[in-house]
Subunit: 384 residues, 2 copies
């Protein structure tokens, strides 16, 4: 069985999250990823908690199936080796501050002249152009500056961070889209491209309704707690034993919801249309909860699902990792250790492809410089 | 100038957000996207607020540059036309409930047999397999069930929704990655693949540290307000005129921060390492704010940036859309109307490619069935 990126070699200079998340997906799609790390400590996330047997589970999850070689790109001998790797690579990925690769002599213009087919993916805080290109950034900075914090949290309370590091991850995903499109195009043109993604740009790109509202009304939306700002009812509700979610996204679903709850509201002018329901959202929530408080979350989720109303529990991450649907989709996988034994569990790949077997295990994450010998053998023309 | 997907034709049966977000990116990368809508109302989002000149700005943003044809896939004549389009398409996208395409006679097996090179991208609430495949879902349902709500918000308060619809958008982005990888592979094999992405799967896939922590400790993390759960200081701080962000992600940055604030804490055992700082995060926040409260956000952001400490404002969406860095990156673009005049502003494409000109304008979003004539001409072999 072949995978889409089976014949692709990636030279991966990225560290921490945005870049490694993208190259992890490339591993899942079949690519050979050679992680080039700085000698000594390697990727910062090797030191990130939590640890198991003195190794970072965080690093293991993001770097499973990659090979590692430690290279000092300022040292002559290591540069020679790096250049041999470059000559074999289809893709190079980096997340240095803009200009760093140029100082090393490996900027895009130089690489493109020497290796016209090489694709160059860069992810940085603010992108490689613009007045703030050189400023340092982390996920938290772009979540704040990029607007998502301003629409997340409760009204009249301090803004909160999105619990997932979407500043990094979304940027890594956009970069990978650019790299994959460039790989496709290269089949026709023979030429690579540079893909330059800024984390700040990526945040604005996912704000959809908030951008539309601001563009048309001039007034930016604020946070709305657990409610969708422009669909009602589309939020959390109290049952007798806690909160659950109802998402009745259109009039048909609202009518079904009313029928199921025994509430004669579908023809009530205060609630008959979505704009009216948004206008009267607080009243509607109380009328619905006056019914849902009478029974358990499990009862309502089962009853509403049977009626075809979108609903569901609010699960913590342990519950998600045991969710039967998640397990049936092979979305919890083992990362093996070098002895071939399961060492950690992590999220599977959500891209399910016909003709590609779902594997319950992932190859180990590399030790720092742990694949030097096999990479040298591969460069000599042998198998790795 | 060519774009990576210049020669690609996409038959896009998706509606609302996840699928249209993916096909919007394909437009930005050069593809011809033919949006197949149901006669009468078309895509639900044509009726989504906000409106300008009676047209939805939300629809316009997500569907700029696409063509529209209205087809009833149960009507014989429309099916014949649809099949002529299929024969010309490289990619088909759909986000129906699993089984719908099979009932129409256009399931993957049938299409793959007839058009071996066609790539089939599907995005659905729970994916096309597993016990819950047929259940309805919306963004809110998968944000809740998929775990991100459990780590977003304030401790001891009700969970909140992420303000951006990441349940939809992340799933659409994973689907596009699969489609692009399949397009690349098809150059070698001649064969398409089906790409099946479930929104629930996509949520687990972005939880990185939360999955690692749960996997190793057995205890799922909870929400931590505006703080990163395992890096300190990495949160919001009060200045004299409001909140701003400091993200000192390692010891070097923490030392710089202490120097800049005049705080002798870098060698203090309570704060010398990141684990110690996490342990004493509440105390550290107060010590830092005792200094930052003395001056304005603008002062601290400028001062800390000069010292190389990652920092930034918390911006609302109107402020983001005027941010000089965002504007310099062409991240706010105009969507034109059919008269060629700017009608809306929306987010630009964050995938910046060398050799591809950044355009300040986007072609209009289509009227429902507005491109029927030109699509027919194109099918006859003429230009569209």
């Amino acid at each position: 069985m072949t995978a889409p990126l089976d014949n692709i070699t990636v030279l991966d200079l990225t560290h921490v999250l945005a870049g490694p998340f993208a190259s992890m997906t490339m591993v899942d799609l079949g690519a050979k990823v050679i992680k080039v790390e700085r000698p000594g400590a390697g990727d910062d996330t090797r030191a990130f908690p939590p640890f198991k047997n003195d190794k970072s589970a965080y690093f293991a999850a993001l770097n499973h199936g990659k090979q590692s070689i430690a290279l000092d790109l300022k040292a002559e001998q290591d540069r020679a080796l790096f250049e041999r790797l470059l000559a074999r690579a289809d893709v190079i990925l980096e997340n240095y501050r803009p200009g760093t690769m140029e100082k090393l002599g490996y900027g895009w213009d130089t690489l493109h002249a020497r290796h016209p087919g090489l694709i160059y993916g860069a992810v940085s805080g603010f992108g490689h152009t613009g007045p703030d290109a050189l400023r340092p950034a982390y996920d938290m900075v772009v979540q704040a500056r990029g607007g998502v914090m301003s629409i997340t949290g409760e009204k009249d309370r301090e803004p909160v961070r999105v619990g997932a590091s979407i500043g990094d991850i979304v940027a890594g995903m956009f970069m990978l889209q650019g790299v994959l499109a460039a790989l496709y195009e290269r089949e026709r043109t023979g030429l690579g491209r540079k893909v330059d993604v800024g984390m700040l740009d990526g945040q604005l790109a996912i704000l959809e309704h908030a951008v539309a509202i601001t563009s048309v009304t001039g007034t930016p939306p604020g946070p709305t707690g657990a409610r969708h700002p422009s669909i009602t009812p589309f939020e959390t509700f109290h049952a007798s034993d806690g909160l659950f979610v109802i998402a009745a996204g259109n009039d048909v679903l609202f009518e079904r919801l009313c029928d199921t709850l025994g509430l004669p509201l579908a023809d009530d002018p205060r609630f008959a249309t979505n704009p009216a329901r948004c206008e009267n959202a607080r009243l509607l929530k109380r009328l619905i909860e006056a019914v849902t408080l009478d029974n358990t979350k499990a009862y309502w989720i089962e009853t509403l699902e049977a009626a075809g109303v979108p609903t569901g529990p609010i699960q913590n991450v342990a519950e998600v990792m045991q969710d039967p649907q998640i397990l049936a989709r092979n979305m919890v996988v083992n990362v093996l250790d070098h002895a071939g034994q399961p060492a950690y569990t992590t999220a599977g790949c959500p891209i399910k492809l016909s003709g590609l077997e779902e594997r319950p295990d992932r190859r180990p994450a590399p030790d720092l410089d742990g694949d030097r010998a096999s990479i040298l053998t591969w460069l000599e023309g042998g198998e790795d």
